[in-house]
């Protein structure tokens, strides 16, 4: 079980391996004959680091179809979400202290919003429909004069549901409300055109798209009224929005990751769709099995299924050597059923039986077949082991 040789990794929504080309690009920036210089230095070595970083910014900007100077490097989507939410809220305090979000957002969004609540802001937490989707009319009804910010994620990390950020953004523009999108799960996987989209702030992170952990970015639209106050203060890097020595190897890694994603995302999407469809076809006839999300319209990298009358933790152990998640990776250390699935209206019992299979570039059809067999056998075995309800 603990022999890694046997592991089948199906938790790409939690994190991904780093593409070998990306590792190579990063290594070149670290070693003694590389460009390890501090990009804040004015000498030739420092300037070379600056050029590498500018190149990487161009790669990420190209993936998102935006200008390089709309991007601020951060340590990941968690920091980007915090900078977007706390940074805007304080900057726009005069505009109003009402913020709208959803109950199904990632903790990296809900926790800074709760922090705002502790500081006198009011947050309206919208519920999704049973598939996880936000009804635009629900949002319209919640909009107020003093709504300064709406934060809705693109692809949900537990269910894969894709929100209609185009329509949500359009509604925000009508109301002079800023729109923040956590795109940690969609960046590099779904087309994102920031020149066309009515989005003001977008959080992205490299480690969900075959890049390194610990590097992310925040897109800040070059539009009147869009600005964030920094959370960190220091050497003045990145126009004072986010100081600290720029981690050149991480940034160059993210840039290379973006370039690869741009050329591969269509193929990836087809690959993931085939895997997800194969998996679902292989288990959908199990009595009591249901999808959390929407197989037809969700992001195909994620398939989240619950099954009646099965204890989730035992299911997870029975599935080894399959590496999958219950709920989100971030909350899976607690025994509580996922708050995201509860918001979809799942009972505690169904929610806690949920398993998130998430697929990636390295996943094969053979891996999926093993997963199908393991899932069927495990459900079967645990059901046989369980006493009847009326026992």
């Amino acid at each position: 079980m603990t022999d890694r040789g046997q592991m089948i990794y199906m938790d790409y929504a939690a994190s991904t391996p780093v593409d070998p080309w990306v590792v190579e690009a990063m290594t070149a920036l670290m070693t003694a004959d590389g460009n390890y210089s501090n990009p804040s230095s004015t000498h030739a070595a420092g300037r070379r680091s600056v050029e590498y970083i500018a190149h990487a910014a161009g790669q990420l900007a190209s993936l998102l179809n935006t200008a390089e100077d709309t991007l601020v490097w951060t340590s990941g989507a968690t920091e980007s979400d915090n900078l977007a939410i706390l940074g805007t809220a304080h900057y726009r305090r005069e505009r109003g202290q009402h913020v709208i979000s959803m109950r199904t957002e990632h903790k990296a969004v809900t926790d800074p919003l709760s922090e705002l609540e502790r500081h006198g802001f009011e947050v309206t937490w919208l519920d999704p429909d049973a598939t996880g989707l936000l009804d635009i009319e629900t949002l319209r009804a919640a909009m107020r004069e003093d709504t300064q910010l709406v934060s809705i994620m693109h692809v949900n990390n537990e269910t894969g549901i894709i929100q209609d950020i185009q329509s949500i953004g359009a509604l925000c523009r009508e109301n002079d409300t800023l729109f923040h999108v956590d795109a940690a799960q969609s960046c590099g996987k779904l087309p994102i055109d920031l020149t066309a989209l009515p989005v003001d702030l977008m959080s992205v992170t490299a480690h969900k798209m075959y890049g390194p952990k610990g590097i992310g970015a925040l897109y800040i639209a070059d539009r009147k009224g869009v600005h964030v106050e920094p959370l960190l203060f220091g050497g003045g890097q990145q126009r004072k929005l986010r100081p600290g020595t720029l981690p050149a190897q991480q940034i160059v890694g993210f840039g290379a990751t973006a370039a690869i994603a741009q050329s591969r995302s269509n193929d990836d999407f087809r690959h993931l769709t085939a895997l997800r469809d194969r998996m679902w076809a292989g288990i959908r006839d199990i009595p009591g099995v249901t999808v959390n999300g929407d197989v037809a319209n969700g992001f195909p990298g994620i398939l989240n299924v619950s099954v009646e009358d099965i204890e989730g933790e035992s299911l997870l152990l029975a599935l080894e050597p399959l590496c999958v998640a219950t709920g989100s990776a971030c909350s899976s250390k607690s025994q509580e059923p996922s708050y995201v699935l509860r918001a979809l209206g799942r009972s505690d019992a169904l929610a806690q039986s949920a398993i998130r299979f998430s697929f990636g570039r390295p996943t094969t059809a053979a891996n999926v077949d093993v997963a199908i067999e393991l899932y069927r056998n495990s459900v079967d075995r645990l059901r046989r082991l369980a006493p009847g309800r009326a026992a």
Binding site: M1, E313, L317, Q335, R384, L385, A386, P387, A391
Partner: protein, 123 residues
């Protein structure tokens, strides 16, 4: 320091669960509490528990504990069931404190089984 929530023993007991199942024509005690459901089946001959089986719905520690109990108590005196305590299992299986409530459901089930089989043999 291992971050594995399951000891090797728990993993082995959970994976095999050789005593999982039902016994026909046997005494049976069932308890449901703390989100855990346990049924125990026992055959007793001349005051000795000859066979034990369990069914359980719960986390791996619950299933492992039920299995460990069955393996250990086949062949013991029926009256021993009345004295059964999970504290030994809690230790040997390294059950985390927050799960102790669930494991106590096994204790309830075993004692209830004990009363049934001892009561039955008194008749």
């Amino acid at each position: 320091m291992s971050s594995d929530p399951y000891s090797a023993e728990v993993r082995a007991l959970f994976a095999a669960a050789e005593h999982g199942g039902v016994l026909d024509d046997a005494s049976c005690a069932a308890v449901e509490d703390q989100g855990v459901r346990i049924s125990l089946f026992a055959t007793v001959e001349e005051g000795i528990v000859t066979r034990l089986r369990f069914q359980a719905w719960g986390c791996p520690h619950v299933i492992a504990a039920a299995e460990a109990f069955c393996a250990e108590f086949e062949g013991c005196a029926a009256s021993d069931l009345l004295e059964f305590s999970v504290s030994g299992l809690m230790q040997s299986l390294s059950v985390p404190v927050e799960k102790s409530g669930r494991i106590l459901v096994l204790e309830d089930a075993v004692r209830s089984l004990g009363s049934i089989v001892c009561g039955a043999s008194e008749h």
